[in-house]
Amino acid sequence: MKLSIVNYGAGNIKSIQFAFQRLGYDAILTDNPEEIITSDKVIFPGVGEASSAMVKLQQSGLDQLIPTLKQPVLGICLGMQLMCSHSEEGDTTGLGIFDVNVKRFSNKVKVPQMGWNTISNLKSDLFKGIKEKEYMYLVHSYYAEQCEASIATSDYELEYASALENDNFFGVQFHPEKSSKAGEQLLKNFLKL
């Protein structure tokens, strides 16, 4: 299986590569459109700030490429947020794959949300073998609102969409690569899609 991780200079992607390595798969880090198009599965990672990450995507033309991909694509954390319509962070227009807006948590709660929270209302093959209220590791200040595309929800200040699905596109707000055995199960499920 050819597995690629979109490399556009956004954060700690090594962890994702290592997580697949622990499952016995070699993932390549690449920004080469040809490599990405010919992959069986594509991971779209990201940590950091939304508007500058989007600028990097635009500079490499990846913003045009990603929405046209036909194979299963998994956005992680900021990757997922960039696949949405719009983010309040830096007033950023997203890739529009998920028809939902990304907003900032208010100061009624500590921001960023940092740590392990539960995921509920699971509805996707991505969560096969993962139980309701399983714990996943999250670090984020912005969240996707509840919407049609939601396949998991979490609670922090309010109930929000912690995972999204639209056709071949998937997004998770949490970090499966850092979420112990449950995270590994999710990555395995993604590889089987």
Partner: protein, 251 residues
């Protein structure tokens, strides 16, 4: 619901764990990678590695260690000790560290916090603060708590938040090593004052101390070393006890 985190801290010297670690059934308790995996399996939520002998010469050893931990451990970890520049952090994140913790270097040059959070995002910037209560005032100390400053803990905590820290690791020098409980009054004040997560450190001796620091100290996470390393408090038992007290934990 977001859970409270239990964070074992490993002191590292020349790529090996120090401070005596006494786990049963471990091939090499001095190997940080073996230990880290063990802790991840036992239910630790996060790990902190502190390079206590950070020098230029052993920097590569530390990088190798971070790389191996990242390869093998499936929970998040923070690396601290001797970090004073954007390049230092870039290197560690490239080796697979999730977060870095800075301490004295941030006091000496507070702009470092801005530079790191601008470049890498505040989610990976932990500012560690060692403070001691002297005549009723909490003063920040440097170099592992040995050098006093005139900086007030609460002023400094607000400043690091404004500069973009994602989290504060507060160690009370009055409580560290005493096993008599965390500095809950100061912790609660901190937690109310800033809007980023606070990790409590210094003073863990019993399960009740963890209950107290989450309830009274309003801490978001609690860090300890020896009570975990010597198996005095098994993490699973700790978490079960916390849950019985209605403190949300990952079990």
């Amino acid at each position: 619901m977001l859970t409270k985190r239990i964070v074992p801290c490993l002191d590292i010297k020349n790529g090996r764990t120090v401070k005596g670690v006494n786990f049963v059934d471990l091939r090499d308790a001095g190997d940080p990678v073996v230990l880290a995996k063990q802790y991840a399996d036992l239910g630790a939520d996060e790990l902190v590695f502190l390079d206590i002998a950070a020098t230029l010469e052993n920097r590569k050893t530390m990088h190798d260690m971070v790389l191996k931990v990242a390869e093998q451990v499936n929970i998040p970890f923070t690396v601290g000790g001797g970090i004073s520049s954007v390049e230092d952090v870039d290197d560690l994140l490239h080796c697979g560290a999730d977060k870095v913790s800075i301490n004295s270097s941030a006091v000496k040059r507070p702009e470092l916090i801005n530079e790191l959070s601008d470049k890498f995002g505040s989610q990976c910037v932990v500012v560690a603060i060692d403070a001691k209560e002297v005549d009723g005032e909490w003063l920040v100390h440097l170099a592992g708590g040995t050098i006093p400053t005139t900086l007030n803990l609460f002023d400094w905590a607000q400043e690091v938040e404004q500069r973009g820290a994602g989290e504060i690791l507060f160690t009370s020098m009055n409580h560290d090593g005493t096993k008599a409980g965390f500095a809950n009054k100061a912790l609660a004040k901190l937690s109310n004052l800033v809007n980023i997560p606070i990790i409590a450190s210094g003073g863990a001796g019993s399960i009740q101390h963890f209950v107290d620091t989450f309830k009274e100290g309003k801490a978001d996470a609690a860090l300890a070393a020896s009570v975990f390393h010597f198996g005095e408090i098994p993490i699973l038992e700790l978490k079960e006890a916390l849950r019985k007290q209605d403190i949300p934990v990952r079990l």
